[in-house]
Symmetry: C2
Subunit: 586 residues, 2 copies
C-alpha cells in the first residue's frame, strides 16, 4: 500500500494517527520557520506542515518542491491552529516526518486552479492538466453519477442493456455517416452508427421487451459549439406499450435522477402539443421556467393603417413584466438583437404601459392610446409592463419572438440554472414538407407511427397528420425524443408511399428491418436521450464539451493527440484506397 | 396499458384474476373441444385455453393462429388440470375471453425452440429470430447481469467511469487499426481504439485515481472462431498502488461476480510465475482445474541410447492417472493428435504402468523396466497410470504437451464447466526477442514497468528482466491482463533504448503521453478484462459469439444487415478517396 489514506478523508477524529498520503503539490507557502503544503488528490486537499527547527533537512527539501510535483509523505495528524471550516479536512494538518518525491513536474503551462489563466486552446492541448482542475473534474464525477443512476433506475424497471454493433451499414437518409473501410471486404465500408435505432427495433422484434444502452453515436456534421462528432446517447425501447407508458417511465427516470443526483423533487411534467408550443412560444422546445407567452394581435393590430402590420401574416407580441422604464438605449439594443441575421426580424415594435396608465409606443403615429389599450388588455399587461411586438411571415416571426422572449427571460433573471422546468412536447407532425425536393420527409423517422385518429388524412391532408412522437424538454433544452413505431406492414407501406419511396427503394434501404417485421413484430416504441446534454443541464452549463473527458474542437480535431492524422501508404494499400488531393476552392 | 401482466408471473395465487397478456404464439394444440396455446414473452410462457363449446368463434380464431403470431388476450386465471411443476406459471392457465391479433407472422425459417433446426448461417441471417430462442436470450441476460455486477463492485470501490474517445489516432505498433477517413480534415484518418490504454494512463496523470470503463475496442485482424473485429473490454486503472493492490482488487471483483451471478464462492487465487507456468504446464494460461503437471525427464531419459531423446533439448511428460488400459487405437489417436500441424510434435512416447506393476512402453527397445520405473517414480505414477512423453526443442515440446494435457483432461472429464479454477500468472518477461527484426519487443507494451530487482539486467541480460505484469486466468482462459506502468521518465527512456527507439521515434509515436509524463505522473497500473470471454466463461460456452447480440462472421461481415457494403461515389468524393480494385492473386 503506497498510502494509508486519501487527501480527502482525515478529520479531527483522526488526531495523532500516523498516516501516509500521496498526491500533487497544489501550493506551498513559508511562514516563519514552517512550510505549509496543500497536498491534492481526487478526493480532496490535506495540509502538510514541515518544521525548519525540528527537521531542517526535510523542510529544505519541501521548500524545493514545485507545483504539481507528486510526493508521498508520512507523518502525524495534528490539529491546525488556523482552521478552515469549509473543508472536510480543514481542521487538521499532517506533521510530516518523511517524504518521497514520486515524480517531478515541469511548470504547467497554466495554473491548476479553479480559475485558471489558460485559454481554451492551451487547455485542450494539455487536457490531462485541465482535467486536474476541480471545476472540470467535478463535471466528470457528475457525469459518472448520472450514468450510475440512469442504470439503477432502468435496471430496476427490468430494462436490460444490450450492446449493439459499432461497425454497421451506411444509410443514405439523415446526417452524414462516418465510414470505415473494410480490409477483408475490399472496396466495401462499414458505417459508424448515428444511433442504434434499427437494432433496438430488431431487439423488440426479438422479444427483449425493455432495452437500454448508454452508447456512443457518430455524426459527420459540420460542428457547432454544442455538437461533437461522437456523442453519447441513452437509448431505450419498450414493447407492448403505448405512448403513455413511455412518457410515464421516462418522466419517472428523470425524477429519479434529479432526486438522487441533485436532491431536487421535480413536479409532474406538463404536456404541450407541438402546435401549442409553436403558437405560445414559437419553439418546439419552450423554456417554461418563465411565462411570457406569445399573444397574437392580428385582430386588434391589423387594418389600422400601419402597413407593416397590415402586410404581415402574423402580428405577435410578448409582455415583459415591469419593463416599462426601459431606456431608449435598451430598446434599441433589443431592436438590434431581433434584427441580427440569425434571428431575422425586420424590426421591433414596443409599447410601454407606463405606471401612470399612459402609453408610449414606437407606433404612436398609427395607434392611439385606446387602440394600444386593446393590445395591452389582450396581453394581460399591467401598468409598468412593456409590450414587444414582431410581425411578418408566421414561422419567421415566431422564431424571432422566441429568441427575444428567451433574451428577455435572461435579462429579467427568469432563467435560473437551479430551477428546472420539465415538459413533454407531444403530437409532433408526422411529416414535414421539403420545398427543395417537393416531397414530404419524415419529421422523426419513417418508422414513426401516425395517430390512428389522423389516419383518414393520409390521402387528403398528409401534412396535418400528427405522430405518436414526443420530446422531453427541460429549461428549453431538448433532452430527448422518441416515438411509437409502426409495427403493421400495411401501415408501413402506406408511410413509404407518402414519403415517395417505391417498394424497391424501401427494400434497398430498410430491407432487413422490413424483413424482420414479417415475423411477428410487436407494438413498440422508445426514446433516446442526449447524455452529454443531460449532464450539462445537471451541471448548469451551456456547453456539452465541458462534460466530455477528451472532446474534439470545431474542426473535429483532438488537439491533444493530434488526430486525425495521415496514415502510412502501406495502410492505405491494404485497404485498397487512394487519397485524392482536395482542390482549392475559388 | 396493453397488458396487466407478463407471461412469466402468474401463479396459483392469482387464481380468478382477470388479466391481459401479450406475447408470441410458441405452440398450439387441440385436445378434444379445447385449444391450448403457449404464449411466450421475455419473462416466460403462460398457457392459454380456448373452449370450442363455450366460445366457438374465438376458439376457431385461435386455431388459425400460426407460430410466432403476436397476440393480446384477456381472460381469467384458472387452475390447470395437468400441472407443470417445472415452470413458475405451470399450475395455471388463462381461460381466454377475448383476443386481438397484434401482428401476423410468416412461418419462421427455423423453429424457435431450445433445439432448433436452423444452421448457423441461417440463424445469423435471421438473428432477430435466433435471439428469440431461450438459450440465446438467456446468454444476453447473463451478459447484462455480469455487466451490472461489475459496475456495482467497481462503483462501490470508488472507481469512476470515464468515457474515452472512439475517434483517435492510428499507432503503428500492435494489431492493425480500423481507420475512419475525416471529411473535415482531408486525407487524414482517425483510428478506432484497440484499447483506451493511453487515455486511461492520461486519466491517471490527471489525478482520477480509479478509472473504469466497459468499452468497445476494435482490431482489424484476420478472424478466428473466438475473435470479433469489435469486442468489449472492462478497462481499469489505479493510481498510488502496487501490483499487490491490483491483484487484490480484481480478485475481489471476480469473487463478487461469481458469488452474485453464479452463487459460486471462489477460493483465493493461487499465483504462479510465468516461468513455473511454462515449466509445469507449457502454457502461460494453464487450466488448473486438474493437475497432471509436466515432469522433465532429461536426467533419467537421456544418454540411454535412444537418439530421439538424446538429441532433444527437452524430454517432458505427463502422468495420465488410471489410463494404463488405453488401447492401441486410443494411443494411436493420441499420437495422431500431437502430430497435427497446429500442435507440431514429431511423436509421442507412452509408458503403461500396468496395474500388476509391469511396464509396457513404445520404447521398450531402449529402456528396460528398471529405467522406466525411474521415470514412473519421478512422475509419481501409480500402477494403472499412463505416462505420455514428448521430446524436442523446449518451446515446441512444451506447447505440444500442453495441448495433449488439455486433451487428456477433457477425455478424463477433468474440465467440468461448472468448476472454476482461477489463477494469477505473474512475473511475465518484460521483453521478448523477435528473430525476424533481431530486436526486443515489449511483451505487454512499452509502458510496462520492469521489476526493480531486475533493473541491473537492463544492460547485461535484458531478456531475463521480469515485468510487473500479470494475467488473470480461469479454467485455462486468459480473462484479463495488465501491468504496473512506468511513471519515471529516466526509466521510460531506458525502456525505449532497449526497444531500439530513438528519442525522435519515441516522441513521434508516444509524444502526447511522454509529454504528459513531464507534469507529475503518479505511480499507476491497471488491468483490462475481456468482457465477451468472461461472459462465455460464466455461461459455460467456448464461443464468445454466442454472447454478442449481433456478431460478425469470420469474414467480418454482419450477414443480417449485409455490412460492410459499397458506398455512393458522392460519399467517397466528399472524403477525398478513390477505391482501388484488388488485383486477383496468383
Amino acid at each position: 500500500m503506497l498510502r494509508s489514506n486519501t487527501c480527502g478523508e482525515l478529520t479531527i477524529s483522526d488526531l495523532n494517527k500516523e498516516v501516509t498520503l500521496c498526491g500533487w503539490v497544489q501550493k506551498s507557502r513559508d511562514l516563519g520557520g514552517m512550510t505549509f503544503i496543500d497536498l491534492r488528490d481526487r478526493y480532496g486537499i490535506t495540509q502538510l506542515v514541515f518544521n525548519m527547527e525540528t527537521n531542517a533537512d526535510l523542510c529544505e527539501k519541501a521548500r524545493k518542491l514545485g507545483r504539481e510535483f507528486v510526493i508521498s509523505i508520512s507523518g502525524k495528524v495534528i490539529e491546525r491552529s488556523s482552521k478552515n471550516k469549509n473543508m472536510k479536512t480543514g481542521e487538521v494538518e499532517i506533521e510530516v516526518t518523511s517524504m518521497t518525491i514520486l515524480n517531478a513536474s515541469k511548470t504547467p503551462p497554466f495554473t491548476i486552479e479553479d480559475e485558471t489563466d489558460g485559454g481554451e486552446d492551451l487547455r485542450m492541448k494539455y487536457r490531462y492538466l485541465d482535467l486536474r482542475r476541480k471545476p472540470v473534474a467535478s463535471k466528470l464525477m457528475l457525469r459518472h453519477q448520472i450514468n450510475k443512476e440512469v442504470r439503477n433506475f432502468l435496471n430496476n424497471e427490468d430494462f436490460i442493456e444490450v450492446e449493439t454493433p459499432y461497425l454497421i451499414k451506411s444509410t443514405p437518409e439523415g446526417a452524414r455517416d462516418f465510414v470505415v473501410p473494410s480490409r477483408m471486404n475490399p472496396n466495401e465500408f462499414y458505417a459508424l452508427p448515428q444511433s442504434p435505432q434499427t437494432f433496438k427495433q430488431l431487439l423488440m422484434v426479438a422479444g427483449y421487451d425493455r432495452y437500454y444502452q448508454i452508447v456512443k453515436c457518430f455524426r459527420d456534421e459540420d460542428l457547432r459549439a454544442d455538437r461533437q462528432p461522437e456523442f453519447t446517447q441513452i437509448d431505450c425501447e419498450m414493447t407492448f406499450i403505448e405512448q403513455e407508458d413511455i412518457l410515464n417511465t421516462f418522466e419517472g427516470m428523470m425524477k429519479h435522477l434529479f432526486k438522487t443526483v441533485k436532491g431536487v423533487e421535480l413536479t409532474d411534467f406538463p404536456r404541450m402539443t407541438f402546435d401549442d408550443a409553436m403558437r405560445l412560444y414559437g419553439n418546439d422546445k419552450p423554456d417554461i421556467r418563465f411565462g411570457m407567452p406569445f399573444v397574437e394581435l392580428n385582430d386588434v393590430a391589423q387594418n389600422q393603417g400601419f402597413k407593416v402590420f397590415d402586410d404581415a401574416e402574423l402580428v405577435v407580441g410578448i409582455c415583459a413584466e415591469g419593463c416599462s422604464e426601459y431606456t431608449r438605449k435598451q430598446l434599441d439594443a433589443l431592436t438590434d438583437f431581433v434584427k441580427k441575421p440569425q434571428i431575422g426580424a425586420t424590426g421591433l415594435v414596443y409599447v410601454k404601459v407606463n405606471a401612470d396608465g399612459s402609453f408610449k409606443s414606437s407606433v404612436d403615429k398609427f395607434f392611439d392610446t385606446q387602440k394600444l389599450k386593446t393590445w395591452a388588455d389582450k396581453m394581460n399587461a399591467k401598468p409598468g409592463d412593456l409590450l414587444l411586438v414582431i410581425s411578418g411571415e408566421v414561422n419567421k416571426s415566431r422564431k424571432a419572438l422566441s429568441e427575444l422572449r428567451l433574451e428577455m427571460g435572461k435579462q429579467l433573471g427568469l432563467r435560473d440554472n437551479n430551477t428546472f422546468a420539465p415538459l413533454w412536447v407531444i403530437d409532433f407532425p408526422l411529416l414535414e414538407w421539403d420545398e427543395d425536393s417537393k416531397r414530404f420527409h419524415a419529421m422523426h423517422h419513417p418508422f414513426t407511427s401516425p395517430k390512428l385518429a389522423d389516419l383518414d388524412k393520409m390521402n387528403t391532408a398528409p401534412g396535418d397528420i400528427r405522430a405518436n412522437a414526443y420530446d422531453m424538454v427541460i429549461n428549453g433544452v431538448e433532452i430527448g425524443g422518441g416515438s411509437i413505431r409502426i409495427h403493421d406492414r400495411d401501415l408501413q407501406k402506406k408511410m413509404f408511399d407518402l414519403l415517395g419511396f417505391t417498394e424497391e427503394e424501401a427494400k434497398a434501404q430498410f430491407g432487413f428491418l422490413m424483413n424482420a417485421f414479417e415475423y411477428g413484430a410487436p407494438p413498440h416504441g422508445g426514446i433516446a436521450l442526449g447524455f452529454d446534454r443531460l449532464c450539462a443541464l445537471f451541471g448548469g452549463s451551456e456547453s456539452i464539451r465541458d462534460y466530455i473527458a477528451f472532446p474534439k474542437n470545431n474542426s473535429g480535431r483532438d488537439v491533444m493527440i493530434d488526430a486525425p492524422a495521415t496514415i502510412a501508404d502501406a495502410q492505405l494499400e491494404e485497404l485498397f484506397l487512394n487519397t485524392v488531393k482536395p482542390v482549392a476552392k475559388g
